[in-house]
């Protein structure tokens, strides 16, 4: 059996830490997600932080915004290491991810994009 995927959640400020804590509280799955904040980082040190969080694990990187310093750093890390990047991270996609960590990184990324998008609704 291959190693389960790791999710690396990259955000401005403390959002990533709060999201990871919330997912662990909701799902009961601990250690599957690693939060990374861009606080205090220049462009190079964000890449370093993401690289340390991914390490040598098969992973998917989740980013808060579809632009900006977190995305650019994630894309730079992704280019170096074949790690898919997903933007617009939300709790439903992370919850879906922690229960499907046996997929390939690309398949997991495709799956969570759908899960995240499907969760955005306007209830009547």
């Amino acid at each position: 059996m291959s190693e389960p995927l790791r999710g690396v959640v990259v955000s401005h400020g403390d959002i990533a830490h709060a999201m990871v804590a919330a997912v662990e509280q909701i799902s009961g799955v601990k250690g599957a997600l690693v939060p990374v904040s861009n606080t205090g980082c220049d462009r190079g040190s964000i890449v370093t932080r993401i690289g340390e969080a991914v390490a040598d694990h098969p992973a998917v990187v989740f980013v808060d915004l579809p632009s900006g310093s977190c995305l650019i750093a994630a894309m730079q890390r992704a280019r170096d290491g074949q790690v898919p990047v997903v933007t617009g991270v939300n709790l439903p996609m992370l919850i879906d991810f922690v229960f499907h960590r046996d997929l390939s990184p690309e398949a997991a990324a495709t799956r969570v994009v759908k899960a995240g998008a499907d969760s955005i609704k306007q209830p009547a």
Binding site: C41, S45, S67, I72
Partner: protein, 157 residues
């Protein structure tokens, strides 16, 4: 003068620049002067993703930035000239003394630097250099966002 902001920010084109400054200043272009990004089409595409369609993103090396600066000043649109480090802005000012106001927007922790403001880390040598640049006629102030108060570089000594 249509360059309304000369900013040093080691995150380059990011939210504070696009949302915080470009929108309220009503700029039509952001010129990023950076040797690394200026030579990388791939990185330019990434940074362009963060810029609204109403704003032109221009990428140049320092040498090209020096050459193109008069074109930006003469542009009918308002613009921001951005560098990722002190050395590049200093190089631009050396060649183009009309760079008269310099905004320190974000320089983060590196070896040898210490915190001067929450978004501004400088080594003693960097601080001394910026104070000298200020004394030589370039008004150097730290200000992360338009809604915060500008801090003259000499107030940080």
């Amino acid at each position: 003068m249509t360059v309304v902001l000369h900013r040093i920010d080691d995150r380059l084109i990011h939210g504070q620049v696009v949302v915080g400054w470009a929108a309220p200043l009503g700029v039509g272009f952001i010129a990023l002067v950076d040797d690394q990004v200026g030579a990388s089409a791939w990185e330019q595409d990434l940074y362009r993703m963060g810029v609204p369609s109403s704003v032109e993103a221009i990428f140049t090396t320092l040498a090209d930035g020096v050459r193109r600066y008069p074109e930006w000043v003469a542009d009918s649109r308002r613009g921001i000239v951005l560098t990722g480090d002190i050395e590049t802005m200093a190089g631009l000012r050396q060649a183009r003394p009309e760079v008269s106001h310099i905004n320190l927007g974000g320089l983060h922790l590196k070896p040898g630097r210490r915190e001067r403001l929450p978004y501004l880390y400088l080594s003693d040598e960097e601080l001394k250099f910026l104070v000298a640049m200020d004394g030589a006629g370039a008004a150097v102030t730290a200000q992360d966002l338009p809604t915060s108060a500008p801090v003259p570089i000499r107030a940080l000594t």
